[in-house]
């Protein structure tokens, strides 16, 4: 059973986002890391660049395959988690602790397009 945290919002493509004020912290879900298997590579849009909701902001690769990362929100990237870039296997250890990017939200109304924990839980079945 994959872990779904109560205080986060989710995408159908298995990213999570934690919103604090106008800063959104983004990562991939436990379900995603489990399905990917051993994660060995991570690439994300650099700080200062913009991302758009449901558009690609990076790539995560397991030993087997590459998968696109889709941004849950629009805005400007404030920070990339260098620790996750350097040691992407941390995502397998704890995908909610190991965030990938922080984004300054450009449109808080977009959050209504995301899944709440219950809806995401259903999505994972």
């Amino acid at each position: 059973m994959s872990k779904v945290l109560p205080d986060l919002l989710y995408t159908k493509t298995h990213e999570w986002v934690k919103v604090e004020g106008d800063v959104a912290t983004v990562g991939i879900t436990d379900y995603a890391q489990h399905n990917l298997g051993s994660i060995v590579y991570l690439e994300a849009t650099e700080a200062g660049e913009s991302v758009k909701q449901f558009q690609q902001f990076g790539v995560v690769e397991s030993v087997k395959a590459a998968s696109d990362l889709m941004s849950p929100v629009s805005g400007v990237v404030l920070e990339v988690n260098q620790e996750a870039i350097d040691s992407p296997e941390l995502i397998n250890t704890d995908s909610y602790e190991t965030w990938i990017i922080k984004v300054k939200l450009s449109d808080a109304k977009e959050l209504a397009n995301l899944l709440n924990p219950e809806a995401y839980q259903t999505e994972c079945k």
Binding site: G37, S38, V40, Y41, E61, S62, V63, K64, A65, A66
Partner: protein, 356 residues
Amino acid sequence: MKKTVLYEEHLKLGAKMVEYAGYAMPVEYSGLANEHLAVRNTVGVFDVSHMGEILIEGKDATGFANYLITSSVPKQNKRMMYGMMLYESGTIVDDLMMYHYHPEKILLVVNASNLEKDYAWITKQAQSFDVRITNLSDETSQLALQGKEAWKILQEMTDYNLSKMKMFDFDEMNILNLPFLVSRSGYTGEDGFEIYGKGSSIITLFQTLIAKGVTPCGLGCRDTLRFEANLPLYGHEIDADIDPFEATLGFAVDMAKDFIGKKALEGKQLKRKVVAIELLERGIARNPYEVLNEQGEKIGYITTGYLLPGKTQAVALAMLEEGYWAIGTTVYVQIRKSTVKAVVRNKKFLNKTYIK
């Protein structure tokens, strides 16, 4: 979807299952990297019951196999040989292992994904030979026990003296008092055994191996292990439009005898071949990404590539045009929107330690 006899065992072990060659197969259990390293460091067991087994029997068995396959049937009984079947065009129908029981009985073990095509090809070619061709695939299950501790584990379960078995020897023997065909061989670059038997026997053996602490290994690490050992996979390094020399498998082609596809090979100049590359920048080169030269022109493609478990630099096998084969040559891999610098290197991703 077909199931191997071990399907229920895989589920009990919590395997992630995928479809491969029409079978539900385990891709990983405890994790690909963990399984890969278990085979490299100790021992792992794979369910490879999906593989195809085709038996050639009869007066002309040796003559037919020598005509059908690029390499020569071993002179000694109970010896194996790696080889390929070619189309008249010289490109590859499939690669296989032949098991030479005796001159009138030869077992071919072929890729699961090619079984139907192979069986049709073999029966078609056999028409003017005095042979019987039997597809034993559905009644044959197979385990691969791989790693430096494989012999020790297996020896605990049999009276047969395994120390007299050299690489590519095979024999029939009892394990746990059940009959099996066992060869000292594998697809991982490690010492190990491939074990064929009836479904019920294979289930008992698999359960016993797991109880003894052998790591169950899925198709995921089967591919990383074979790649690291520079062993080809059909659909990647070899294919219906690739010839053995392009795949650098000339060692398995006996040009001194007659075989299907030989004529085409004789007249052909080598214009591309599989080489190894190492990425000098971040990224993972995967099949079928394009490979470019300094000018940005396409010079080939990646056949297989990985960032291997326990390694920090991604490596790949690539089919490259002439002129880019020398070790040290700079090439570029198109990975999504970026071109990533790489260098042609030797193919020894792994230092094989087993004794031949």
